[in-house]
């Protein structure tokens, strides 16, 4: 059974309904009892059968799962709609609903039948058998190794190089120290009274690394001299040129 039975006291008689896999299953079985093609069943008669079945179950004080009751209510509603004169019928059209119910029953029936026919086919492992001990097909990959002389020579070089103790040499880089920068800023500022941009304190050089070092050191030097009260700093806005003047 797919559907979990509703919880209830163990003695409660749910037996009468437990044979059905939900209301649709019950409806399909009732429809089959009409002994006509499902396309020609009388939906009204089916509704009557279903409601009678549920009523019987109730008089026997059987516990009935909620979805069966919901279906009963819906079928009662459908029945009343079907019995109304056409012009008074509510929306959605009860005839349409009845047709859809009939199609659902047909489809469930068709799939049940199809399942049974599938299971009845000659199945591998049950009715027909594959070879019990196949030899199997194997693909054996035989490697064809490739290398070249350069790989061997440079490989040997790499081995030997690993064996040689490595000596690390730190290359000397031209920098402007903070002391040099302070002295330079003080010297340049000493003779001026106007505002000078920070860049003006950096010596002209083609060495970009040295220029950046000098710029950084001159900036820190300007901060240091400002702290000592030797210079004043001014900047109009973030990222604007930093201006320096003797204090």
């Amino acid at each position: 059974m797919d559907q979990a039975d509703p919880p209830g006291p163990p003695e409660t008689l749910t037996l009468a309904l437990s044979g059905w896999e939900g209301p649709l299953d019950l409806l399909l079985n009732l429809a089959r009892s009409q002994k006509v093609d499902l396309r020609e069943i009388s939906i009204l008669e089916l509704v009557e059968q279903y409601l009678a079945f549920i009523n019987d179950a109730r008089t026997l004080k059987l516990e009935i799962a909620a979805d069966y009751l919901v279906m009963a209510a819906w079928l009662a509603y459908l029945k009343s709609g079907l019995l109304l004169p056409r012009e008074e019928a509510p929306d959605p059209d009860p005839e349409e609903l009845a047709l859809r119910l009939q199609q659902r029953l047909q489809r469930l029936d068709a799939m049940r039948e199809a399942g049974a026919r599938l299971m009845a086919r000659d199945r591998i492992g049950r009715d027909v058998f594959r070879r019990g001990a196949p030899e199997g097909l194997r693909l054996v990959r035989t490697p064809h190794w490739q290398s070249d002389l350069f790989a061997v020579i440079s490989g040997y070089g790499a081995v030997r190089a690993r064996a040689v103790p490595a000596m690390h040499i730190v290359s000397r880089r031209l920098v402007m120290t903070l002391e040099q920068a302070i002295a330079r800023v003080e010297r340049i500022i000493g003779a001026r009274i106007d505002w000078l941009a920070l860049e003006r304190f950096v010596p002209e050089t083609r060495d970009e690394a040295y220029r950046r070092s000098a710029l950084a050191s001159s900036f820190v030097a300007a901060l240091e001299l400002a702290r000592r009260g030797t210079v004043s700093l001014r900047q109009a806005e973030p990222f604007a040129p930093l201006m320096i003047r003797r204090a």
Binding site: L24, W74, A76, F129
Partner: protein
């Protein structure tokens, strides 16, 4: 069969006989060489074996030898009966096979009950059903479809071979599935019971 099969027939025969899984013509060709007209040889071999205790069959584009169905009674005896599928599993398998790709909600709409967790698992574990991508629809539901092993195990050359599939399609019973529950159309009227 013919008294002296030619080299191509012998090669294809041995290859399919030794294979552990059904083989496509391309896979056979990879073994026997591209000089062989594999499809013609397969047809000739199938004819050779028709009526024998072993048959050569095509399932979903792949070929394998198997015992003749009418001899099942001889062979079944010593083997454990294959696990019986629950009714729910059988119906679910049928719904997937006839409607694939199909979402769980659609299976439930047809059956009128929820699928318990184990039902799809059993079918996937058996190798008959596989997840087949998500549908581009609200909620992007995962869909399911059958596998090549389903065709092989149930002796179907293709899904067109499904019993009664043409009649069902003609009757509109394989049309897209409406997953709106019937009850929702009732609105509030009938609920005071």
């Amino acid at each position: 069969m013919n008294a002296a099969p030619d080299a191509a027939i012998r090669a294809v025969e041995a290859t399919l006989f030794a294979a552990e899984t059904p083989l496509s013509p391309a896979e056979v060709a990879a073994c026997v060489g591209s000089a062989v007209d594999v499809r013609a040889v397969l047809a000739a071999l199938a004819a050779d074996y028709a009526g024998r205790g072993i048959n050569l069959v095509e399932r979903g584009g792949r070929w394998h030898f198997q015992t003749a169905p009418d001899l099942a009674h001889l062979l079944r005896r010593e083997r454990a009966e294959t696990r019986r599928l629950s009714r729910a599993a059988v119906e679910t398998l049928a719904i997937i096979a006839y409607h694939e790709p199909v979402s769980r909600a659609e299976v439930e709409a047809i059956r009128g009950v929820q699928i318990s967790k184990g039902t799809l698992d059993v079918l996937i574990e058996a190798g008959w059903v596989r997840p087949a991508g998500r549908r581009e629809a609200p909620g992007r539901p995962l869909t399911y479809a059958t596998t090549p092993a389903f065709l092989t195990d149930f002796g179907l050359s293709s899904r067109r071979d499904l019993p009664g599939v043409d009649e069902l399609a003609a009757a509109g019973l394989l049309d897209p599935i409406d997953t709106t529950p019937v009850m929702l159309e009732m609105e509030k009227d009938g609920e005071d019971d």
